[in-house]
């Protein structure tokens, strides 16, 4: 009940914005600044922004973390590593406590058998086919995002929906970094 009232309150506040949002945007492309209703137009001189002062970069820095993007194919009980890419990844997608439901894939990252990262990802086994009913895709591809401040050497994948369990070596993901700097932070061999 409480959430319905809460949502209703928000709905009422947003109603005004909704009305204006229904106004169709023009399809044509403008080439010069313009004002409707005979309004006057003043174009202000362009000014540069220092990179450090660009709030967008601050936002991205705050909301991303170092990590690893894994793409795996789970085919019934087998798991195949399709790709593993070190990247700055959205922080919020990396946690083991995400509010997802249904079948999940649990992934844990290891360095020398020490657990350094874990996450939970929806396992897209159950599908709704329009007019076709429920379809189980026991062969499916899952993209997994792990947060890790150092190179992950292996990952454990657990997909209970089809009984898939695997341990995958992902050190090759850092090959370019090792080639460029064998003693660098992002080269597992250096550890």
């Amino acid at each position: 009940m409480r959430f319905l009232v809460f949502a209703a309150l928000w709905s009422s506040v947003f109603m005004v914005a909704r009305v204006s949002a229904q106004t169709a945007e023009p399809e044509e492309e403008e080439t010069r600044p313009a004002a409707s209703d005979g309004g006057k137009v003043e174009v202000l001189p362009s000014r540069p922004i220092e990179q450090d002062a660009d709030q967008l970069n601050e936002l991205v820095a705050a909301e991303t973390v170092d990590g690893l993007v894994l793409v795996v194919t789970i085919d019934r009980a087998s798991v195949t590593l399709d790709s593993a890419v070190p990247a700055r990844v959205p922080r919020r997608l990396t946690g083991p406590d995400r509010k997802i439901a249904g079948d999940v894939v649990r992934t844990t990252g290891f360095v020398n058998n020490e657990e350094i990262a874990s996450t939970v990802t929806p396992d897209n086994v159950v599908n709704a086919s329009e007019g076709g009913g429920l379809v189980r895709t026991e062969r499916r591809q899952i993209t997994i995002v792990l947060a890790a401040e150092r190179p992950i050497e292996s990952v454990a994948i657990d997909a209970p929906a089809t009984g898939a369990i695997a341990r995958l070596d992902v050190r090759a993901a850092y090959a370019e970094y090792c080639k460029a700097d064998p003693t660098g932070k992002w080269c597992p061999k250096a550890r």
Binding site: Q22, P26, V41, S46, L93, G133
Partner: protein, 387 residues
């Protein structure tokens, strides 16, 4: 009681805002991966005192993968500059607009917001929206200090990315990141971005049908992204090759847009699912929303012959009548409305009106238990964590 509370709140909202301008802004086209002119249009209204000024400020710079040891899935910007236009009006009391066209060249990243000022000097400002345009980034230079190397890289391409600075109570977890990827049956990438615009603009901004009320009302909870090639959908079989497979790591849900006819299908997921939408259908926008009901919110089909299974909160499909009745009561809905879906042995709460997970009509919306599930989703997002 609830109706009186709602009416009272609406009156308060309207009277409390008297004299304050209403302002909205949107860029057009939403996303195009080639050189083009992008026009930001701000619209403002203030019926009591009139609008005296609209100011559009746009920060335009080069899209990067962020300069650090590891490249980012979400883009940063460098070499940016601020462009602005000020449109002045003599206190006009009907809607006025102001347009700022921008020449979009390769790897552009634009952030804009608009401020409207009334004749009595009251102001209102839109939230910041960031979008990409021009040829995308395809390679990144990694600088390890004494040695550099380059490698192929793609970021997610923001279409409508809400980039207000996070506050202590609201962060990016309070958004639903909906990504779009092209199917190989798209004639080319331009066709994909055109189709994306044809779906996303009505669904979140311009449609006037009942089915899109929810997305238009809550559009500020969504970030929309485009991704590179690599996805392939055919029925319920979906594959993702690089770079799309990596980039979709930034999405809460992925819609593969296709033109060839096949039975659309979506995973029943919350936060990480995917589905397909045929863009050539006359009701493709409705189909996208229905599929998103599956892959973003875990809703099941409520029609006979569909995917009658749910993981939404609460479930909108139940395996027993008793479970449907119990959930209905718990969610302040008449348990007497629980009805079997055909002869499937699954149950839903049906108030007799057209609902988006059952009825393929533009007059549908999310009702009864699916409506509650979406209200819960809104609350979760407003509280800072959609998933």
């Amino acid at each position: 009681m609830r109706n009186r509370l709602l009416a009272g709140t609406l009156v308060l909202a309207l009277t409390g805002c008297a004299g304050t301008p209403r302002v909205s802004a949107l860029h057009n086209p939403l996303y195009r991966a080639t050189n083009h002119t992008s026009t930001i249009t701000a619209r403002a209204t203030e019926s009591r005192d009139g609008i005296s000024e609209i100011r559009i400020e746009a920060i335009v710079g080069e899209l990067t993968a962020c300069i650090s040891l590891l490249p980012s899935l979400i883009p940063c910007r460098q070499n940016a500059s601020v462009s602005a236009v000020v449109c002045s009006f003599p206190g006009i009391k009907t809607e006025v607009n102001c347009k700022l066209p921008l020449a979009i060249t390769p790897q552009r990243l634009v952030t804009y917001r608009a401020t409207a000022r009334s004749a009595k000097n009251r102001t209102a400002t839109t939230g910041s929206v960031t979008y990409a345009g021009g040829a995308p980034l395809t390679q990144v230079q990694i600088d390890l200090g004494f040695v550099n190397f380059s490698m192929p890289w793609e970021t997610a391409r923001p279409v409508v990315w809400r980039t207000d600075a996070p506050t202590s109570t609201v962060d990016r977890g309070g958004k639903i990141d909906l990504g779009f990827l092209p199917d190989p049956d798209m004639p080319n990438y331009r066709a994909f971005t055109d189709d994306l615009r044809s779906l996303a603009r009505p669904l979140f901004y311009t449609d006037a049908n009942q089915f899109s009320v929810w997305t238009r009302t809550w559009k500020n909870l969504f970030n929309l992204w485009a991704g590179p090639a690599g996805a392939d959908g055919e029925g319920c079989a979906r594959t993702f090759a690089a770079p799309a497979s990596t980039v979709r790591g930034a999405f809460d849900g992925t819609a593969i847009l296709h033109r060839n006819a096949f039975r659309d299908c979506a995973s029943i997921s919350r936060g990480g699912g995917a589905g397909t939408t045929q863009t050539t259908l006359t009701d493709a926008t409705w189909v996208l929303l229905h599929e998103a009901g599956h892959f973003l919110f875990g809703l099941g089909d409520e029609y006979d012959g569909g995917g009658n299974f749910s993981i939404s909160n609460p479930l909108n499909v139940y395996s027993t009548e008793a479970a449907c009745q119990s959930s209905s009561t718990a969610n302040s809905l008449p348990s007497s409305q629980c009805a079997q879906i055909g002869a499937t042995g699954t149950w839903r709460n049906d108030d007799g009106a057209a609902t988006t997970m059952e009825d393929r009509v533009l007059t549908s919306d999310f009702r009864t238990l699916s409506g509650v599930a979406l209200s819960n989703q809104v609350v979760a997002c407003v509280n800072g964590a959609c998933y």
